[in-house]
Symmetry: C2
Subunit: 270 residues, 2 copies
């Protein structure tokens, strides 16, 4: 298992990001702290200089496990389940653009909030149809790039909140380049047992977010990370555990405590 942390390539409204902007400076810090990779949160791939990112991360010996895409929902309203077909198409096109960048960076593409919020307007059947269609269209665009659906807690999302719902969706999207991203903070709210859910996801678990029960750095709350790492090992998970955390008490302390705490746990099992 490898250790990562989320960094937004630009300022962003979404709060659970340790680092926002100042890519070169923050990437250097992350590298010094001993992380193996940086998960990039990118609103629009057009806004980033792909070759600059590549050479910067090469230099620092950091990989990019995944690209977060939710800002396109939070700041532009793009969504797979918007009643307006033009907006749904824009959301799909945005994910395809993210997949181009992801292929260059050998990263996966996260389908988090961009899948949208159905609210009371849209039936769950209609939302599911749009979601499955969008995922299939993106998945077949480039089967070399993995798309990862993140179950997100009920307060932020009403479409795939827990791992069982995620696995049910997997049954409907028959592309093996579509899998799951599990997040310990969301699972603490939604999943009756975090460990059973990890075992349920098993081979479809492509990426893992760590944040404690209060969304601070691991160790700040009551989630049992030793048990989570042990369970991930049991299912032979080889991917990243990547910190998507609040920048509290400040970004550097949050990152440093994540590195110290998680490195100790990972050393035991690696």
């Amino acid at each position: 298992m490898k250790l990562g942390i989320v960094l937004s390539t630009q300022a962003a409204k979404f709060s659970a990001l340790a680092y926002k902007g100042h890519l070169a400076e923050n990437a250097a810090k992350i590298s010094r702290l001993g992380f193996d990779g940086i998960e990039l949160a990118i609103r629009d791939p057009q806004l980033v200089d792909q070759s600059e990112i590549k050479s910067l991360l090469n230099e620092l010996d950091l990989t990019v496990p995944a690209i977060g895409t939710g800002q396109a929902f939070g700041e532009e309203g793009l969504s797979f389940v918007n009643p307006d077909g033009v907006i749904r198409k824009k959301a799909i096109d945005r994910i395809k653009a993210q997949m181009h960048l992801a292929e260059e960076l050998e990263a996966m593409v996260i389908i988090g909030l961009i899948r949208g919020f159905r609210g009371n307007e849209i039936s769950s059947e209609q939302a599911e149809t749009w979601l499955v269609d969008a995922l299939c269209e993106c998945a077949q665009e480039n089967e070399n790039v993995k798309l990862i659906i993140e179950p997100i807690n009920r307060y932020e999302c009403d479409l795939i909140c827990n791992v069982q719902e995620g696995m049910d969706l997997m049954d409907k999207v028959e592309y093996s380049n579509v899998g799951l991203l599990l997040d310990s903070f969301h699972m603490n709210i939604e999943d009756p047992s975090i460990y059973d859910s990890i075992r349920l996801a098993k081979d479809r678990l492509y990426h893992f977010h760590i944040a404690d029960s209060n969304r601070w750095y691991p160790g700040a709350g009551h989630i049992d990370f030793p048990q989570i790492i042990e369970t991930l090992k049991q299912i032979d998970y080889q991917g990243f555990v990547s910190a998507e955390i609040l920048p509290l008490p400040d970004p550097d302390v949050a990152a440093e405590r994540t590195a110290t705490y998680m490195r100790k746990l990972l050393l035991k099992i690696n």
Copy 2:
């Protein structure tokens, strides 16, 4: 310790209520399941027939540990921190009216969502001043009735989310008839340690809500209720543990499973 469950006296938007409306019928069911009391969620005391409630509950040998008041915020927008002084006064008057009813029923009055949401408009200092002033004005109205502040998770509330913040507020409200209501569902998200927070609240803990990590009945998620009950016993808590839960898979099953599971735990320590 005694066992309770929340019942709304009328239909309500708020989802975490096992029972809504049909007071006589539902109270009889609750009594048959062996609960000791019913926590009543009441939007406006004017809407209920006080003597009818009293005689009904007497007959069923049920007490009312507390009255929930949040529907006045959710459905009428009343709040202690609304920028409009007229609305703030209405919220205070509503709580005073709830206190009159509470005195009759020998119940406490919950200050949950009615304290309001400050958002970005109001500074935290201003919100705290309004909140403290409102609580003091209500507390001195009738010192025989207890007012209980419930820390509520960040997604539903931005004013007193965890127990430490609740205790800091207690220091500013110098009335002993103001205390805390802790809720296991909210604590699972906000409090680094549920047990430490119970010990922190200690003598100011007047009421306790039980719901599992997914807000279903206790036993449906991963919260360690045996440990919670043990910790409540350690601080010599004598009050109610009262289920504020989603009506899932349906209200009757949720209530019945709560009763069966919690009664077993309470038998061990009572």
